[in-house]
């Protein structure tokens, strides 16, 4: 079973994402900010990370940089999931190593489609 780390400071978003991901047969872990996510990755590298942009403590972009420096045994797929929907943000995320990008609000079809594109389902 593939594992997904949902990183978002909104409990509601994490709950909705977890519900959808579990129905897609993914095992889900949660983190409330970038630092918690980094700790979770050091503990066990997930197959895919659903990553918010704006979060307290450590943002999604800062997390990506820290993840790059962490020398993990394998690289998880990164799917940004954010309200930052402008082209400049999307380009910046791709340049920083994001594999896919979800513009919030998302629905089940969007999430399913993007997970298919990164080979998770």
């Amino acid at each position: 079973m593939k594992t997904c780390l949902v990183v978002d400071d909104s409990k509601v978003i994490r709950k909705v994402a977890r519900h959808i991901l579990e129905t897609l047969d993914l095992q889900v872990r949660e983190a409330g900010d970038g630092r918690e996510a980094l700790e979770a990755c050091l503990e066990a590298v997930p197959d895919v990370i659903l990553l918010d942009w704006n979060m307290p403590v450590m943002s999604g972009m800062d997390f990506l940089r820290a993840l790059r420096d962490a020398n993990l045994p394998r690289r998880p797929r990164i799917v940004f999931c954010t309200t930052e929907n402008g082209m400049a943000h999307i380009r910046a995320a791709i340049d920083a190593g994001a594999d896919e990008y979800i513009m919030k609000p998302f629905d089940r079809d969007t999430l399913e489609s993007k997970l298919q594109l990164v080979g998770m389902i």
Binding site: I90, I94, A98, E100, F106, D107, D109, S113, L117
Partner: protein, 280 residues
């Protein structure tokens, strides 16, 4: 017993759902139609009122219900790169045609709001950039004037543009507009000739095609119109052409003009009877 009365609130939710997913709106005078088109689904799920249906959609326990509701409300449900392997097959056919020294011709029959021909245009425009191969001629038709108008505009909602379209291709081929609208770039749209056409009545676009995509269209036709549509398509295809139907569709028992192609499931080529005389 299923009740058809619909509350304004439920209609508003369904309208928002439809608009978010497709960009289409339910006008107030169409509320009766909403009840009618949703009744079979409600009966199937043993749901008695539209309010209960809306609750079940929002509840999310049945992950397919929202999609079924949308399918019922609009038959033009589509997405970018739907069934990806289909596009690999098309590239193979186009490559063969190019080897024979011709420019390939592709017809997207029942293109709805244009995601299918745009997916083709992206594939072949990128292939042209990397391999220097010619762009195939892409013709796209749909029975709905509204769908063709939207396809021509290349304009998609945030939800639509995220279905099936990889982010790098979205960045490469689309521009963001205010109001979460995403519009295909003119240099992509110019590769497609859009035209309104009823497959069961109108003549096919001129010339012969190497590939015809007609996915999830025939299933809405009664037997006789379906025969006419197969006849029209067969008449517009080259002898070696490939007809691609939807994953759940077949020609078996529907027409003698086509037979299963070696390319795989949902792919057909003309049979010995597949060069029909012009329709009277």
């Amino acid at each position: 017993m299923v009740q058809s009365a619909s509350s304004g609130q439920s209609l508003a939710v369904l309208s928002a759902l439809l608009e978010a997913r497709t960009g289409q709106q339910i006008a107030s005078h169409r509320s009766t139609r909403v009840d009618t088109v949703l009744l079979p689904l409600m009966r199937e799920r043993r749901i008695e009122t539209l309010d209960q249906l809306v609750y079940a959609v929002l509840d999310g326990r049945d992950p397919h219900l929202a999609g079924r509701v949308i399918d019922a409300l609009v038959n033009g449900e589509t997405s970018f790169f739907r069934d990806r392997h289909v596009f690999d097959n098309i590239v193979e056919v186009v490559t063969e045609v190019e080897r024979a020294g011709r420019r390939a011709r592709i017809w997207s029959a029942g293109c709805s709001t244009g995601q299918e021909p745009l997916s083709l245009a992206m594939i072949f425009a990128e292939r042209q950039e990397t391999h220097g191969t010619p762009m195939p001629e892409i013709v796209a038709t749909d029975v709905s004037e509204a769908a063709i108008a939207r396809a021509r505009s290349g304009s998609y909602t945030q939800f639509e543009v995220q279905r099936g379209l990889p982010i790098r291709q979205m960045v490469r081929w689309f521009e963001g507009r205010p109001g979460n609208e995403w519009v295909a770039r003119p240099e992509l749209l110019r590769h497609i000739a859009f035209r309104q056409m009823n497959l069961t009545i109108d003549p096919a676009p001129g010339g012969s095609f190497d590939v015809v995509l007609c996915r999830n269209v025939m299933l809405y036709f009664a037997p006789e119109p379906k025969k006419r549509a197969f006849h029209t398509i067969a008449g517009a295809m080259r002898p070696t052409g490939l007809l691609i139907l939807g994953a759940g569709e077949t020609v078996m028992g529907q027409t003698d003009l086509f037979q299963l192609a070696s390319a795989g499931r949902g792919m057909y080529q003309k049979s010995d009877m597949g060069d029909p005389a012009p329709r009277a």
